[in-house]
């Protein structure tokens, strides 16, 4: 067991994957000597050479597009997008090319690409540095989207993503980068929890609280307060945004009958809509109240001095809890 921040857990996960397979290579802006603006790739270029940790020109479509070519040629590229807000220039390569290569070639070509994207707000930064773009990707057939909420998952899931033959968008909860947690780095990759499984973090019978990434911590805080008030909350860390582990979710909902989904992205058209709709389809007669969403508001990300009011917090979750309990 090691106590690691999420940053260093990912770093160690990358190192282990690179050591295990010489076809794993890293590409992105400033990931070499600098080690990335968040230092996630620190030391890796020195260890593995600048042919495996490649500083790229400043062009995101170029990064993803050439990663596709590299993958076609047998590599397992792991590309870093410096911040969430800079992924959109690569959108065509992601949704029209990366997501479809296997489909259009009827299985002949697969693209084992991992796109690492630090995402979400709460770090007091300027415009375009606090985005939650997951809904665009989880709505795109052919992509897999996962997010780790703690160091343990960060370490294992990045490796699972890299060794997945499907392209994976790996969303890193930027504002939790420096949060520490225990990681058993000695275990075997095959013994890690499956990449697409949700994880039940707390046990409770009154309401299910579903989240992922940076707001898992927020959900846990809210659950603690509720517990103190005698309301039992089952917190689920989705971990996988596409596919959604409906089995784990439905099992919980059948027990609690009440659900709140929490994420930072704007509510309308966000992942919470899909989760709520799926729960309605699957557990209609079990539901005692509508699935509610506690999310970022339907605005562009606001100026950072007021971002605390934009981001879901424990209070807003507790308000929603009050509502679902009142049905």
């Amino acid at each position: 067991m090691e106590q690691l921040t999420i940053v260093s857990a990912i770093n160690k996960g990358l190192r282990r994957a690179m050591a295990a397979d010489s076809k794993v290579l890293l590409m992105g802006e400033d990931i070499g000597k600098l080690g990335g603006v968040f230092r996630v790739t620190e030391g890796l270029q020195k260890e593995f050479s600048d042919e495996r940790v490649i500083d790229s020109p400043l062009a995101e479509s170029g990064i993803v597009g050439t990663a596709i070519g590299l993958a076609l040629n047998g590599f397992r590229p792991v590309v870093e997008i410096q911040f969430d807000g800079f992924v959109y220039p690569a959108f065509d390569q992601i949704v029209s090319q990366m997501a479809r290569m296997r489909y259009r070639s009827r299985g002949a070509l697969s693209l084992p690409i991992t796109m690492r994207i630090p995402f979400g707000g709460g770090i007091g930064s300027v415009e375009h540095h606090s985005e939650s773009p997951e809904a665009y990707f989880s709505a795109t057939p052919g992509l897999r989207v996962i997010s780790a909420a703690d160091s343990h998952d960060a370490y294992w899931m990045i490796q699972q993503a890299i060794f997945s033959d499907d392209p994976v968008i790996f969303l890193e909860p930027k504002r939790r980068y420096w949060q520490k947690g225990d990681v058993d780095t000695d275990a075997d990759l095959s013994s890690a929890m499956p990449m697409f499984s949700a994880k039940v973090l707390t046990d409770g019978s009154d309401c299910t609280l579903i989240s992922y990434g940076p707001t898992v911590v927020t959900a846990l805080q809210a659950a603690k307060f509720a517990q103190e008030d005698g309301v039992g909350i089952e917190v689920i860390d989705m971990r996988s945004l596409s596919p959604i582990d409906m089995h784990t979710i439905a099992t919980s909902v059948r027990k609690t009958g009440r659900v709140i989904v929490v994420h930072e992205a704007p509510g309308s058209g966000g992942l919470g809509a899909e989760i709520g709709q799926r729960i309605m389809e699957t557990c209609f007669t079990d539901l005692k109240a509508p699935v509610l969403r506690v999310t970022g508001y339907d605005t562009p990300y606001p100026a950072s001095r007021i971002e605390e009011h934009y981001l879901p917090d424990a209070d807003r979750i507790l308000d929603a809890l009050e509502k679902v309990m009142s049905y």
Partner: protein, 363 residues
């Protein structure tokens, strides 16, 4: 070449050889005959596909007529181990890579997005998104170098990559980013731009007021402009650029000046935007005619070869007609395959749903 600056030409439009200060043809007579045969057959292939579309057998077709020399000249310069990425119009290149013409039709008939084994033929399938594949080609080329399959100095095994695209594609961000990446990493790639004067209804000058080949200098690539209707020059120029790429000499942009003699696609009506005044000029520069004249004049091409070839073309067309009509429609349930490598519960549900609908319909 009339109206175009500094264009490499080895055979002019009258079929007369041209001396170039740098390039010469390495092709013997039988190679020239082979190129001639290729061009005649792909033109026939193209005509037949166009006819099949008119008959309702294909949803769409993008004719290559006029661009045979550019595609065959460059396509035959590729070694088997090289890899090519093309657009929707490179039937001639596909021909050179050994794709069965009937397989080409699958895409246009709508039975498959990609019909052939890209790794086997070392040709990626038809790409529709303008310019996107230029980056794939560049990444593939970077990979060839990184994995020691290019730039080693072994001229038997070193590989190169070719990316085909049109004059219109030169405006897309992706193509320009490809130039950046190719130059930065000195990737073993040749960008082969067929300037056929038109991007659907827009003349090349809508994309650039200066010759497209000059874009190369701006990115630190080598640039060569070639008569795209001269199959010998296209072959020579491409062969040299490939050699250079394979040996670690860096990327090249080739602008092949040619002309789209037909419509953009079978859905297009060129009379809306071009008055036909150029058509005659370009007919006089026909890529096949000039080689025929040359080969005839030099007694390389005789009547027997020509009539055999005509017969071969006729039977190719017939094979296409029959093959096209026989192409099986895909199993509707196959639409759920290969979205992912890993199994997917949601898709399984949806497959079951469609399966039961189909079963009901079957009743």
């Amino acid at each position: 070449m009339d109206g175009f600056d500094s264009v490499v030409q080895l055979l002019d439009s009258t079929g007369s050889p041209v001396i170039d200060s740098h390039y010469s043809s390495a092709l013997d007579n039988s190679s020239l005959l082979a190129l001639y045969r290729d061009m005649v057959l792909v033109r026939k292939l193209d005509e037949q596909a166009t006819a099949l579309q008119r008959q309702g057998e294909l949803g769409l077709w993008a004719p290559l007529i006029g661009q045979e020399a550019a595609q065959i000249g460059s396509g035959r310069a590729l070694a088997q181990r090289d890899y090519a990425f093309a657009t929707y119009r490179e039937h001639g290149v596909a021909w050179c890579r050994g794709i069965d013409p009937v397989d080409m039709l699958r895409f246009w008939r709508g039975t498959m997005h990609q019909a052939w084994d890209a790794n086997l033929h070392r040709l990626y399938g038809y790409q529709v998104i303008i310019g996107a594949h230029a980056l794939h080609a560049t990444g593939y080329a970077m990979g060839a170098y990184l994995s020691g399959r290019s730039g080693t100095g072994n001229s038997e095994t070193d590989q190169a990559v070719v990316a085909y695209f049109g004059d219109g594609a030169m405006s897309e961000g992706d193509v320009n980013e490809s130039f950046v990446f190719a130059a930065t990493y000195q990737a073993p790639i040749v960008f082969f731009c067929q300037n056929n004067q038109w991007a659907i209804s827009e003349p090349t000058k809508r994309q650039s007021r200066i010759p497209l080949v000059q874009r190369a200098e701006g990115f630190g690539l080598r640039g060569i402009r070639v008569d795209g209707n001269d199959v010998i020059a296209c072959h020579a120029v491409t062969a040299e650029a490939l050699d250079r790429a394979r040996s670690g000499g860096g990327p090249t942009l080739i602008e092949a000046v040619t002309y789209r003699m037909g419509a953009h696609t079978t859905s297009d009506d060129p009379t809306k935007y071009r008055d036909g005044s150029d058509d005659e000029l370009w007919r006089s520069r026909d890529p096949i005619d000039r080689l025929r004249i040359y080969l005839r004049a030099n007694e390389v091409l005789n009547d027997t070869f020509q009539s055999d070839l005509d017969a071969e073309a006729t039977s190719l067309a017939e094979r296409m007609r029959i093959g096209c009509r026989e192409l099986p429609d895909p199993d509707p349930l196959s639409m759920f395959e290969n979205v992912y490598c890993a199994p997917d519960a949601r898709l399984d549900e949806q497959r079951s749903e469609l399966k039961s609908i189909l079963a009901k319909m079957g009743d």
